[in-house]
């Protein structure tokens, strides 16, 4: 069964002047961990708000666990958990009061579903009497996730849960998501961090309201479709300028300690040709063949 279905969703703002979502379609299977990957302004939040019945689309159809987002919005609200990108809990209530409030609204108790949130909530439980507004960013994030889970939702919507979060906490957060998935919860999560894409089962790359590609991370990386090389020397900024000036090179982008390049006419003679062009200015030049990352694919699709 499909837990999320979007068919040709269009959403505009300011009387059509701002086209936030331009005909987006995709499906998320029951129990799947699905990632919506794209920068700010791609339309991710509009899609989340349409699916959680907080916003009406201009055109198109959408459903969650078989319920139409327009006709069956009440049913949807009972079975989904939503963690918005912006902290939306009650700052004047304590940690425990917030959690109890959300449990009560959904006709349940903290005790009934404690096993589901225990993993996350136990980390902030020592601060259960602190007001939510006084928590640090990481603790707010954990409380928001606990509140989104306390009624044991069928589908969980997480809008940029890791934005502004450091690399270690991000890793921990994704481990938590894997454990929730193992409990059978369907998860739709968005992120602007391309490196998180590989932690999802399937991903949709989205940019300016349009889907660039939908597939497993591995299949997206395989679809890059041309040889990619990593190039390095002692003077990286000069090297980038030289690569951009070379008649052999098609694209060149910085990737951490390497520049990733593609060739107009790939082949071993071209690699050798580039080495000859650069070796006098970059005696310590290294060129090696590499596998494309999701970010390589995103950049290529943006230019297409």
């Amino acid at each position: 069964m499909k837990d999320v279905v979007l068919e040709n969703i269009v959403k505009t703002y300011n009387k059509g002047a701002v086209k936030a979502v331009k005909g987006v379609s995709f499906e998320v299977e029951e129990g799947e961990l699905f990632g919506l990957i794209g920068p700010d302004g791609a339309g991710k939040t509009s899609l989340f708000r349409i699916l959680t019945t907080l916003l009406l689309a201009d055109l198109g159809r959408a459903s969650v666990a078989g319920n139409d987002v327009v006709k069956d919005f009440r049913k949807i609200r009972n079975i989904v958990g939503y963690m918005p990108g912006k902290f939306s809990l009650y700052p004047d209530l304590t940690v425990e009061e917030n959690l109890r409030f959300f449990a009560t609204v959904f006709n349940t108790t903290i005790e009934e579903n404690y096993d589901l949130v225990k993993d996350i909530y136990s980390q902030i439980e020592p601060f259960k009497d602190r007001r939510a507004g006084k928590l640090s960013g990481g603790m707010k994030q954990k409380l928001a996730l606990s509140c989104a889970l306390i009624h044991r939702p069928k589908v969980l919507f997480l809008d940029e849960p890791t934005t502004g979060v450091d690399a270690v906490s991000r890793k921990e957060f994704w481990e938590m998501l894997k454990r929730l998935k193992a409990q059978g919860i369907t998860i739709l999560v968005s992120t602007p961090y391309m490196d998180e894409a590989t932690l999802c089962e399937r991903i949709a790359l989205i940019q300016e309201g349009e889907i660039l590609s939908i597939d497993t991370p591995a299949a997206i990386r395989d679809s890059f479709g041309e040889p990619l090389y990593a190039v390095k020397s002692g003077t990286m900024s000069a090297l980038l300028a030289d690569l951009r000036g070379s008649d052999l090179v098609l694209s060149s982008n910085s990737f951490g300690e390497y520049h990733h390049i593609t060739f107009k006419n790939p082949g071993s003679t071209t690699v050798e040709g580039l080495r000859q062009q650069l070796i006098s200015r970059h005696p310590d030049l290294k060129i090696e063949s590499v596998h494309p990352t999701v970010e390589d694919c995103f950049i290529k699709l943006m230019g297409a």
Binding site: G38, P39, D40, G41, S136, G137, G138, M139, E160, T163, G164, V165, D166, A167, V168, S169, R170, K171, P192, Y193, M194, Q207, M236, S237, N253, S254, F255, G256, E257, E295, F298, I299, M302, G303
Partner: protein, 247 residues
């Protein structure tokens, strides 16, 4: 080669009661250097950065920024630095030109300089056709590039960048770093925080803060050697996972 030291701190510390937000920070940053200031959430980066910008008085320690004392000459510090973050950038309901004029005026530039330099800057950015549009109507990527250019418009000696590329698309993120390199080549010192570990590689040197303390400081290459790992991601993980104070 000796280069001017534009950021110098010795034992810089900020206490809030029993809590030591920033503990005994000693760093030197040179003119034209791209210095990455990394750390886990809650490590004390913001506190340290606010002290360096002259916005927060330290509890103890010494520091001079662009040659000015961090206790007595905070107003002079503010005139000689630029600042931008993902959150605070420009006024959305002013036009591109109005924003430039506003910030140029704030930093005490005269009308003539503002006029000459803003045309050159807009030309460099390819933003001349949009000069009279409201900033709110520009795509996010352009806003961030414009915000950076405005932050260095008054030719500050140092620019502080607090997660400048958060949420920006991968192509714009790289164009943004092109702007950073160009500014550094002109001698501007770049002091930058980021959660993107590939961007850590673009820094000449960087420091890693854990629980208020600078735990490591070196070039990306040396740090990787020191920890015997292949990527900055792993260096960060090695250092930050020991953090007690997580946010």
């Amino acid at each position: 080669m000796t280069r001017d030291i534009v950021i110098h701190t010795e034992g810089l510390t900020k206490r809030y009661g029993d809590f030591i937000a920033a503990n005994d920070i000693s760093i030197d940053v040179h003119a034209g250097e791209i210095f990455g200031f990394l750390g886990a959430n809650g490590a004390g980066k913001t506190t340290a950065m606010r002290m360096l910008c002259g916005l927060l008085t330290p509890s103890s320690g010494k520091a001079s920024i662009a040659g000015y004392d961090i206790y007595k000459e905070t107003e002079k510090i503010k005139l000689n630095i630029g600042y931008m973050s993902q959150k605070f950038s420009l006024y959305e309901d002013l036009t591109v030109r109005e924003n430039i004029r506003f910030f140029g005026g704030i930093y005490g530039m005269n009308d003539r300089d503002i006029k000459i330099r803003s045309e050159a800057m807009l030309d460099d950015l390819g933003l001349l056709p949009e000069a009279n549009q409201l900033v709110g109507s520009l795509p996010l990527g352009w806003k961030q590039k414009l915000a950076f250019s405005v932050a260095i418009f008054h030719a500050p000696r140092i620019v502080f960048l607090d997660e400048p590329t958060g949420g920006v698309d991968p192509v714009t993120r790289r164009q943004f770093w092109d702007l950073i390199y160009a500014a550094a080549d002109r001698g501007t010192t770049i002091f930058v925080t980021t959660h993107y570990m590939d961007e850590a590689e673009y820094c000449n040197r960087l420091s890693m803060m854990v629980d208020g303390v600078v735990k490591a400081m070196d070039s990306p290459l040396e740090l990787k050697k020191q920890f015997g790992v292949k990527s900055m991601d792993e260096v960060f993980y090695e250092l930050a996972r020991g953090a007690k104070r997580g946010e």
